[in-house]
Amino acid sequence: MTPNGKFGVIGKPLPKVDAVAKVTGRAIYADDMLLPRTLHCRILRSPHPHARILSIDTSAARRIPGVQAVITGADLPIKFGILPVTQDERALEHEKVRYVGDPIAAVAAIDEEIAAAACDAIGVEYEVLDAVMSIDEALVAPKDEPIQDYGGPHNIHKLVALEFGDVESGFTRADHIREDVFFFQGSTHLPMEQHSATATYMDGRITLWSSTQVVHYVHRALSKVLELPMNRIRVIGAAHGGGFGGKTDPFAHEMIVCKLAMMTGRPVKCTLTREEVFYAHRGRHPVLMWVRTGVTRDGLITAMHFRTALDGGAYGSYGVASTFYTGALQTVTYDIPAYRFEGCRVFTNKPPCGPKRGHGTPQPRFALELHLEKIALDLGIDPVDLKQRNFVKAHTRTVNWLRVTSCGLDECTERVMTASGYRNREKRPGHGMGFAISSYLSGAGTAIYWNDMPHSEVQIKVDRGGVTAFCGAMDIGQGSDSVLATIVAEELGLQPADVRLVTADTDTTPIDLGSYSSRVTFMAGNAAIEAGRKMRGMLIEAVAAKMKCDAAAIEVGSGRIGDFSFEEASVLAEGRFGTLTTAGSYTPPKIAGPYKGSGVGPSPAYSYTACVVGLDADARTGLVRVNKIWIAHDVGRAINPLLVEGQVEGSVYMGLGEALMEEQAFRKGLHKWPSMLEYKSPTFLDMPEVETFIVETVDPEGPYGAKEAGQGPLLPVPPAVCSAVYDALGVWIDEVPVTPEKIVEALRRKQKGEPARFGPARFPTIPYPPTIKVEPPPKDLDRAAAASI
């Protein structure tokens, strides 16, 4: 920042630092790599959703010319998993398979066709077990055996029951109580790039290039499974072709190529087919939800009871965290004085679910927004008014101990109300508008595994006028490299293009926990500011000494430091201090509440979004045409408004896909449509115009006030679509995707005088454990904490 308080590059719509590499085809993605003598790997996967493996015969595969190695579960027996509490996956299963697509054996051969032929030549004898394919089936005793050997009863993986404040008395105080049931179908990330990894092994060291969102977590998992110390493993994130949460787990193919490279002494590469990507999944959990809320006559919430049941698929993945997330963030948008949450995740014989953009929160957001719309109708209050009356206030603690800092909900709502004309909209059949809000984390306040390390570290080296920033962060297309370069450039008075970056390489960059939970701008950004300010201080000190003036008088900007060019200043500083390196790190504040499970939900800051969807819905065909979406997003501060708009628009697109068409559905254990043609996702023709408003509340702890932008704006879209369908046709579609069949069926029910709704009829009986009662936080908790520092 210059002395007059104006930013040099923050807030400017500059092109991304990797834009030219991407528009010229020169960015090297994982599958673009082909090292000399590379062997190609294919993986044999289970054709059964649930079966015991009786025998595996690889002898015929090994005899095929060109096959260099064949491995099975006996070669990689150590279990792994992203969460310490669910180490339940093997790179190759040799005892039991739990979903169609579970990996069993792998081949390295001189070309991909030979590797595939060798996989076909592997004989596997199975004892097929009864498959569990739904939440209801998972809640009862299995015919054969449970899918996993932990959890329970039956196929229940995780149960949670928490109560904050006095819910019963909250309901007693209510003038009106309403209950609703909703279902949010699962969907998959569908990144354009299929997962790919290449490993080499030389001199006792493994190097892996992979399309991953988190090099650090892959690094840890490889160390465990390969039984090598972390200093013998290097993980490098290649240019990334899209993640959306789908490349956040460590994957079997990453371990397999490493093992095969160790066995053959040659580079080994594996690229998943599109069908394999559908089965690798880790996407949106299908979630069934029940919510009961008490309100006063004026629509103020007195108590809420929220229940969720998550269809987790066959393995743990992030599932324990996902379960808590389905109950955590309800309170950061609406002031809920007493709140009870009961959550349940079950195992089913389907590809494991995990984190997809919004991780565990779009589903309850969908239920919550529609539920409040219905309550508003019950009370005869405008739904926008009812929601606004309950908005959380900035700088408060929620009943479940989540610390809210900046909050732009009111401003976001006003922006979309004004632009869309929602309040004065013309009411005519077949045309509707819907409104919804949301919030999301700017990074999780706790890491996936317990450790005391900072969540992000940045180093800066200045040398011969050149600036290099090092950080473990992985740019997955959202522009985290550009954000880092912009922040370093801001502090040193340069342009982002002047900053060279080394990122996502476990050998050469300090730790960053990677691209998930919308954490990079906030956490790596703050680390970059610290490192940048230290470097700026050294440059200023050297220049001030040379100019024989006070350091405070030195101006930094436009490539100059005081009277000197940046290059001259760097030479002066190097002469004065020796090698010029600085470092910064970021650790989130310890603000989690005093209860088990409180690690899920806290974030140093929450983004806020408001959205209006305008659409036409045809009562005869059930077809919905979305005409326009207005969305306002409180990003705190837009470090680069072009990138913020891109994240908001991309989130809207993905939310619209989930609202109208995307569905990860199965028949007899098989994915119904594991191809990009049959798995419907919005094309250019399906996407309406989106009008984006950036709201800047300047968060006190964000880098220059910035918060997240990449996930929160997805969340309000599905409920706003359903509200708009109700506005247009007078029927509630209480589940996504909102397909024409569901609308037509709801209209038919309405005509017959039945409830004008399509959605789940009931919520199952779940053996929740005794509720853990948690006292709400004291009123002045954060003020007291701030005073004690």
Partner: protein, 164 residues
């Protein structure tokens, strides 16, 4: 005892004209143009998302028309002008579409970008000032999961304006 090679592979010598350069290659006849570009010619700017003609990612130009290279056999296109993303810039100078995509943030992860750029180039060669709906129609076969398409539409419009 080792088995014989699994199958007989028929190979053919073909001369391909890619980005104005003629190259002779000995190729298995069943190998797709996508595979030949990426694996035999190291032109990895052409990406792939499905290899079934569903996603548009592998789009290249054949005699100026946008085609899916995963559905084309090299033997079909011998002697025809093939343009990949590597052939779009003039030397070090970006094509106006590439420039506009970079300026407006139309490439996020960038994986679908080469295919979309080539589809857009093909459009602008037949329709210099397309309407927004015409751009949508022309690019409807190219999926993108990052951008929500808005910035891509803006970039094609910007480039079209600058080119005409």
């Amino acid at each position: 005892m080792k088995q014989e090679v699994l199958r007989e592979v028929e190979r053919v010598v073909l001369a391909l004209d890619v980005n104005g350069e003629r190259t002779e290659l000995l190729l298995p006849v069943h190998k797709t143009l996508l595979e030949v570009l990426r694996e035999d010619m190291q032109l990895t700017g052409t990406k792939h998302g499905c290899e079934l003609g569903e996603c548009g990612t592998c789009t290249v130009l054949i005699d100026g028309r946008a085609e899916l290279s995963c559905l084309v056999l090299p033997i079909q296109v011998e002697g025809r002008a093939i343009t990949t993303i590597e052939g779009m810039a003039r030397g070090a100078e970006l094509h106006p579409l590439q420039q506009a995509f970079a300026e407006l943030g139309a490439a996020q992860c960038g994986y679908c970008t080469p295919g979309i750029l080539l589809s857009a180039k093909s459009l602008l060669e037949t329709n210099a000032r397309p309407s927004r709906d015409e751009i949508r129609e022309a690019l409807a076969g190219n999926l993108c999961r990052c951008t929500g398409y808005s910035k891509i539409l803006d970039a094609v419009e910007l480039a079209a304006g600058r080119m005409s």
